[in-house]
């Protein structure tokens, strides 16, 4: 016999409390009576003097039995045979790295798994599963207990969040696909209920935690040489925390600040005037449960390669963009676009030209040809007046549209779903839309050349356009578990992981998906070296106070119940109800003691 809810058995410790009312009742109440003559005859009988020792009535033992039965039922006992087909699912998500009294939750889980394996019969066969990056079997099928113990020692947690919000459903799917006698899920989540088959073993207790959010290192303004770092500090704590946030770069601490973080709040901490470094690391100096989320990495803006490809029949008109700091411009004619296509430019500008298909990156289209698929060109409008614009919008910020006078414009009628950002009385002059995660902007006027202070409204608009694209670039961050997009190269290469291990990279690979750990990844292809930073980012994992509750679906277990597994609770509950009726019959409320006068 086993108990699905063994915690409920602690309720047996409450059983002695039942005797208290009887003891209180047994204490003699002092009452004055007219004469003891009649009573003395009764006292002479043996039952009259019963109070002198603790005499508990039979109803007490009936009630005791009833309570014991109920507590026993709460423990959800099941009769089962020794399981032989076992699935052992180990939660290896990032929150399992949290420390519990000097040991990580994963170590505790491993010890618990080892204990469960030791408790199995020698003939048991064990399938091991880990939950991240996906629920997958490790170590082969049908391991013997000794093999399972050996495999257990090699498992480690990843810097990845839980795959989904429904671990119970995951277990149900697992049980449905394989016919297991028992599925153990060892996790730091709470279990709502157990099952004959599903046993959720929870490790860890709710802990206070403080985590770092996204770290952004960017020029203070577009074109500015000064760098500014912004990092979020998130509290998952029940009390105010005093923490110190530092930004490191080039092997030394560049800036540091102490902040008081109220319970449950999110603060954004900024650091100005940072020097240029290859990469940056924000570090949270706090002694909390999970150390993983106390680090955050970011690449320097320059390291990201802010390269702009300009395609124009008159490339000279765009050369003025070179005067904007940080812009690495390559200006080509449309005929040369084929040879540059696919290179890792962050932004492509099509000036009076149009590619055959939308490029898979951010793109600006200035007065595209009439046969373009994005917008139908309307009548020409000389010196158009801007009559309407989106506000607030990053493209229209700080632009004085009363002075904004393009010399020539064509009204745009969108051929795809697009938002009109600027409008003249004749129609839209700027259309913005997003597809597949990339931003596209179509202009019905030519903002180039970039004249700086000589045409301030247009220059501000041009900088807004670049910032709009640039801001999107800046916002992208490599998160652990998500693939890193890399430029295809014909030769094979390798990726050096944060822990020093090397993983082979195929030729022409466009992404690397083995980002299981937070840290710096180096992509090596021939003499070319690229660095990527990958961060762990999951508020749900960092919140150690409110762990996800595992809800085992009601039907999941029963569908997979094998012969030999019997729930006893319904039988016990019926027996308890019978006892309750018997108790009511033997000790009806009408006979219960009235208040003494």
């Amino acid at each position: 016999m086993e108990f699905l809810n063994p915690t409920a058995l602690y309720a047996f410790a409450l059983l002695p409390l039942l005797a208290i009312p009887y003891l209180l009742r047994a204490r003699p109440k002092r009452v004055v009576f007219s004469s003891l003559v009649i009573l003395r005859d009764l006292i002479a009988r043996p039952q009259g003097r019963g109070w002198t020792r603790l005499r508990l009535p039979p109803i007490f033992f009936l009630q005791l039995l009833l309570l014991a039965l109920l507590f026993f039922t709460m423990g959800e006992p099941v009769l089962s045979l020794h399981p032989t087909e076992i699935a052992l699912v180990l939660d290896n998500s990032a929150s399992m790295q949290a420390r519990e009294d000097g040991r990580s939750r994963f170590e505790i889980a491993r010890a618990e798994a080892s204990r469960q394996i030791r408790g199995l019969s020698p003939g048991a066969r064990i399938d091991f599963y880990v939950t991240v990056p996906t629920l997958e079997q490790v170590g082969g099928r049908g391991l013997k207990p000794a093999q399972a113990q050996a495999l257990l020692r090699t498992l480690q947690p990843y810097d990845l969040p839980d795959r989904g919000r429904d671990p119970g459903g995951m277990l149900a799917a697992l049980a449905k696909s394989k016919n297991y006698d028992r599925v153990f899920f060892i996790t730091d989540h709470r279990a709502e209920r157990q099952d004959e088959i599903f046993r959720v073993i929870s490790v860890g207790t709710p802990k206070d935690n403080v985590a770092l959010g996204p770290l952004r290192v960017a020029p203070a303004a577009l074109g500015s040489a000064r760098l500014r770092a912004q990092v979020e500090v998130r509290s998952f704590s029940r009390k105010e925390e005093k923490v110190r946030v530092s930004v490191n770069g080039g092997g030394k601490t560049l800036a540091s600040r102490a902040v008081a973080l109220p319970a449950g709040e999110v603060l954004e901490v900024s650091f100005d005037d940072l020097p240029l470094a290859a990469d940056y690391e924000a570090v949270l100096a706090v002694d909390d449960a999970l150390a993983l989320d106390n680090r955050r990495l970011a690449s320097a803006p320059s390291a990201r390669g802010w390269k702009v490809l300009a395609v124009s029949p008159r490339p000279q008109a765009l050369q003025s963009l070179r005067s904007i700091p940080g812009i690495a411009l390559t200006a080509i004619s449309p005929a040369d676009y084929g040879s540059y296509q696919g290179r890792d430019h962050a932004l492509e500008i099509f000036h009076y030209s149009m590619p055959q298909a939308l490029p898979p990156r951010h793109a600006l289209f200035v007065l595209p040809p009439a046969d373009n698929p994005l917008a139908e060109l309307g009548p020409a409008v000389p010196e158009p007046v801007i009559s309407a614009w989106q506000a607030p919008h990053p493209l229209t910020d700080y632009v004085n549209f009363s002075l904004f006078r393009p010399s020539y414009a064509r009204v745009l009628a969108p051929r795809t779903v697009a938002q009109a950002v600027l409008e003249s009385p004749a129609g839209a002059l700027a259309l913005a839309f997003e597809q597949r995660g990339f931003r596209y902007l179509v202009l019905g006027f030519d903002p180039f050349p970039y004249l700086g202070r000589e045409n301030l409204p247009m220059s501000i608009f041009t900088l807004n356009v670049l910032r709009w694209f640039y801001g999107e670039l800046d916002a992208t961050e490599n998160v652990a578990g998500a693939p890193i997009a890399i430029s295809p190269r014909p030769q094979q290469g390798s990726v050096i992981l944060p822990n020093g291990a090397s993983v082979a990279l195929k030729a022409n690979a466009t992404e690397f998906d083995g980002t299981l750990f937070q840290g710096r990844y180096q992509v090596i292809r021939g003499a070319e070296r690229d660095w990527f930073t990958v961060n762990f980012d999951s508020a749900a994992e960092s919140d150690l106070l409110n762990p996800l509750t595992v809800v085992v679906p009601e039907a999941a277990g029963s569908a997979a119940v094998k012969p030999g597994l019997f729930r006893l609770w319904s039988v016990l509950l019926l027996a308890a109800a019978g006892l309750l009726l018997l108790e009511r019959f033997l000790n009806p409320p009408s006979l219960r003691p009235a208040r003494a006068r």
Binding site: P28, V31, F33, S35, V37, W51, R55, A594
Partner: protein, 296 residues
């Protein structure tokens, strides 16, 4: 204090009653109760041979005509009655409170006294308290009810009494036989009750016993479980485990106790009645007591 039950209607109904005595007493003055002496009442008693000097008005001329012999008719003498009311004023009569037991007992005693007073007989009230008893003088005439009310209104149940000793002490002072009515809870050993009643019998009194119990004595309101019961007279304590079975046993024991007293009274020619004080007093006096032959 005693005004409520003694309404004019109740008093007028009491005036219609008259105590019955099963014994003949030598009264002091003429009254309405028969005496063993021959007298001049209308109630025929016997014949006797005429002797010179007899009043010729009592000659039975019918017998003389049939037998040619002279007989005179004899009549009973009717005398007044002396009544003694003994009210138990020990501590047990104050349970659960004086108003619930002792006062109803006094009301019954006063009602009985009024019946006597209304018949121009003599009544004396004895309050058997712990220590010395308090006694009224003989009262006669219905106007003396107020004196009796004043007398009992100052009484309070207290102390412990030995019924036989207390009665014996009072009987020493009784010079005239008559009717004795004793009101008590008789919550004492039956033997003690018998001793007390035998004491009364020894003085040739016509005895009536009224056992007064409160409802709380008939159905003790103890909560289930251990109970430490304290005797309100002696202060003695007894502990017991009160439950439904014991409650039933107690009621049976009390019933048996009362039955033994009643049985003794029946054998001794004593009127017996049980008065549970939640019964209406007027109903008890006007219906129950006549039913046992105390009134006519």
């Amino acid at each position: 204090m005693l005004a409520a039950p003694f309404t004019s209607d109740f008093l007028s109904r009491l005036e219609a009653l008259r105590l019955i005595t099963r014994k003949e007493f030598l009264g002091g003055r003429s009254g309405s109760y028969s005496s063993p002496r021959r007298g001049t009442s209308l109630e025929f008693a016997d014949y006797r041979r005429y002797a010179p000097g007899d009043d010729l008005r009592y000659l039975d001329w019918g017998i003389y005509a049939r037998s040619d012999r002279l007989y005179v008719k004899l009549f009973r003498e009717e005398v007044d009655l002396f009544s003694y009311l003994f009210v138990d004023a020990s501590g047990s009569m104050g349970y659960p409170s004086a108003a619930e037991k002792f006062l109803p007992a006094c009301h019954v005693a006063l009602a009985l006294a009024y019946v006597v007073l209304a018949n121009h007989d003599h009544v004396k009230l004895h309050l058997l308290e712990g220590g010395a008893a308090r006694v009224t003088p003989f009262y006669q005439g219905r106007q003396r009810l107020a004196d009796l009310i004043g007398f009992v209104s100052t009484a309070a149940p207290r102390g412990e009494i030995d019924l036989a000793a207390a009665l014996a002490e009072q009987l020493k002072k009784i010079r005239r036989p008559g009717k004795a009515i004793i009101l008590s809870d008789f919550l004492m050993p039956v033997a003690a009750c018998q001793r007390g009643l035998n004491t009364l019998r020894a003085f040739n009194l016509d005895i009536c016993v009224i056992q007064v119990l409160s409802r709380q004595e008939v159905e003790p309101p103890f909560a289930r479980g251990g109970v430490e019961v304290v005797d309100c007279e002696s202060g003695a304590e007894e502990r017991l485990l009160w439950n439904e079975q014991l409650r039933g046993d107690y009621q049976k024991a009390l019933e048996r106790h009362s039955r033994e007293i009643r049985s003794f009274c029946h054998q001794a020619g004593i009127h017996y009645s049980l008065y549970v004080t939640d019964q209406e007093m007027s109903e008890f006096v006007l219906e129950t007591l006549p039913a046992i032959g105390l009134f006519k």
